[in-house]
Symmetry: C2
Subunit: 286 residues, 2 copies
């Protein structure tokens, strides 16, 4: 059992990890090893104290070096759910499960809102995770909606498994060119299930398939963590980054504006100290 | 009239300044040009994201370079009071006064608590500011309590003006050696005024003089800003760093624990965005 599991490798998650390490805690940090995709694509950042006018790439490299210096390794997986087990939490990454006494959510902010039917059919034909559920659709027909170029690797993976992929990219400059991938343009409106087939409403037609993958950088917090209180897509936290669930803290863009590196880094630090305080109180009350 | 005046040149004040500059605001930042004394004395800092294992001095240099790169100049003065003028604020630095629509307090945390009589006699024989009030004691006898080595320059300045200085350093390694300075050891307990003479209770005796200077890095927030709500020495703020006074925001150690650079930098950023939002609303309502 870990003291804490940090979900997310953006500025908030990294800040929390550095401080938990300094506080000598036993923790996991789970997320893309290549760090937050947003950091990679950021242009010049001039107002982050200590790094004078850096590109997102340079900031990412500084973060990666520091994690390495501190001996912190990222577990490169996609978290599919966080479940309350009474006095601790289970974090699921597809088939794998990890347990911890506290959770730090550094999820970033969801820019793609769920469409009608998406949340309701999750796990019943709709999936957020190619590597978790791809094998279910071997030799079948699937529909893949992708919010960003960063998921092209996952689309390729799915195309290797499935017989046919209906691909709906929500971004420009698509570089995929595979024989069994048919690309559609438009904004998906709704997902329905009829006679075990999934129907995705796009423009004026329905795209029919056996399963729908919605690939996006961040999943709605309350979908990922059942029972978590949010408002307008942001997790509700207090000044100490505590959420409504005991032992669950949140930091960075997922708690609200301003969407800034300095703010994320500050909250990651506060969340780590709150984890430490929570663990101390837990020990006292045993 | 400035859009904003930032008080304090620690991590919070600097972060607020960088962001206000980026937001193209017209502001002043007032405090020691040599930045926060605490930064200078910090040992290795390992958990500030982006700067891998730096000394306080290295961090200070990175901050100073960035201020310079962004064309931000520090006004090296001591703020003696902030006063509400109805729809804006006046910031006093001894004889000088500056006006702004908003205030960002990055005061740091007061480590030396006021002693009995100190707040009550402020301006009536007790002063916090050598350069503001020193001239009042030309040729007279004064008592100077100093919380830190950083004020030795101010003690020397006072010793040049006054006929005699009773000096009570609250730190080790005192390097002052002046003819008219008599050094005492001990913790001051109380200040009283009797027949226009000031009595400072130290150990079992009273040190008598014409005026008492209490030199310390940060002044109690509610003394500096009348009407400001605080609790246990910390300024009360919400998640957007707003205090109970409209247009006054606070960031960093002065708002509470954890006393960490990352937290201060995050709140400085949030406070700057709140200033921007406040100014936008002000414009709308005109």
């Amino acid at each position: 059992m870990f003291d804490s599991i940090i979900i997310g490798t953006g500025a908030a998650g990294i800040s929390a990890a550095l401080t938990l390490k300094q506080l000598n805690k036993n923790f996991l940090i789970i997320g893309p090893k290549n760090l937050s995709f947003k950091i990679n694509t950021a242009e010049k950042i001039r107002n982050y104290p200590g790094l004078s006018s850096v590109s997102g790439k340079e900031m990412k490299e500084a973060f990666a070096k520091q994690l390495n210096d501190m001996g912190i390794e990222i577990l490169d997986k996609q978290v599919t759910g966080v479940y309350d087990l009474g006095d601790h939490y289970a974090v699921l990454c597809g088939q794998d499960s990890y347990e911890a006494q506290t959770i730090v959510l550094g999820l970033g902010v969801e820019t793609v809102k769920p469409i009608k039917g998406e949340i309701e059919l999750l796990g019943q034909g709709v999936s957020y995770c190619a590597t978790c559920d791809g094998f279910l659709y071997k030799g079948k027909e699937i529909t893949v909606v992708s919010s960003s170029k960063e998921f092209e690797g996952e689309v390729e993976y799915l195309a290797q498994l499935a017989a046919k992929v209906n691909f709906i990219p929500l971004y420009k400059d698509v570089e995929l060119n595979l024989g069994n991938v048919c690309t559609f343009k438009g904004m998906p409106k709704e997902i329905k299930k009829e006679n075990k087939r999934m129907l995705l409403a796009l423009n004026d037609t329905n795209i029919e398939s056996d399963g729908v993958f919605m690939l996006k950088a961040s999943i709605s917090p309350s979908v990922l963590v059942p029972g978590l209180e949010d408002k307008d897509g942001h997790i509700l936290v207090d000044r100490l980054c505590a959420t409504n669930l005991k032992g669950v803290f949140a930091a960075g863009d997922c708690t609200g504006r301003p969407y800034q590196y300095a703010k994320a880094v500050g909250e990651g630090n506060v969340a780590a100290h709150s984890v430490n305080h929570y663990l101390q109180e837990l020990k006292k009350n045993k």
